[in-house]
Symmetry: C2
Subunit: 187 residues, 2 copies
Amino acid sequence: MVPPPAASRPGGRSSRVLAAIHTSVGELVGEGVDKITFPVVAERAGVTPTTLYRRWPDVNALLEEVAVAALTREGESAPDTGSLDEDLTQWALAIVHDIGRPERARFLRAMVSSRVEIVASCAVTDRRGEQATEVVRRAVERGEAAPTVPQILDHVIAPLYHHVVFALPVDEAYARQLVRDVLAMVR
Amino acid sequence: MVPPPAASRPGGRSSRVLAAIHTSVGELVGEGVDKITFPVVAERAGVTPTTLYRRWPDVNALLEEVAVAALTREGESAPDTGSLDEDLTQWALAIVHDIGRPERARFLRAMVSSRVEIVASCAVTDRRGEQATEVVRRAVERGEAAPTVPQILDHVIAPLYHHVVFALPVDEAYARQLVRDVLAMVR
């Protein structure tokens, strides 16, 4: 591969370049571009393909990083209301608000459609697992009966993502019902 | 559109033609063909595009029909073992066996990646809902406490499909845990 001329190279892995790359991927996904490749992203972002090849092993890794960044705000913590029921409800409602947006649903679908091999873990789910762990830890410290973290992922998070990915309707009433159901497991 | 010459037209909507179309879609999805269009399917199946335009409103409708046919065997009934726990477990294990195959996972991902608009219902989920309804009806007739059909769809089916679509591992132990969880909601 011929290296690009020095003049056209952006400032390494600066946050400005990263933001341009993320924005470009988001635009391409939003426009329904079928084949998102490093050269396509590079042209849109005004960087050289080499910038992308240096940072990500393949375009799926880039897509997944962008999806995680788009779907889970940096430093986002789970709610801390003093009650497990209310923590889970507020958390589920925030997720519905986030992933219910059309552009975020497109991100998720673009992400899964690029998957071929079984993955040991999924960055999106891992982040949700960290948040669920916080919520459960605080509930147990207060002496509340709490479902396990896998139960929360399986019975609140998975149905919400399933509905969004399959383009089935998701609303606040649905999120509240899922929380009631998972709490019924430990009552 | 110019109609194709009569000589090249296949025998209407015969099951042979339908099988060729379904097989072709399956092959194209399995090969990871990015853009499945009516002309592409038609060429592979040895039929004219008109045959496809006549039968399906668009290529997504064809993809969904093939996915449903591939994922739920014709006339497949839910197990009837005399116990709700065993019915749900056997049913969940059969689904794991079906959708855990790589080619079926590819079908599901191809199906969701083509979705743009919110759909009122999903043919795959609808079929599972009919099966869950049978299982719940029989349990109630026997006097067993049973979860609702939406609870079974949300807490057994959705997590299984979520895992397959996101390429997370799915196995028998996972299916059994989901059934235990949904039954814990009514105990």
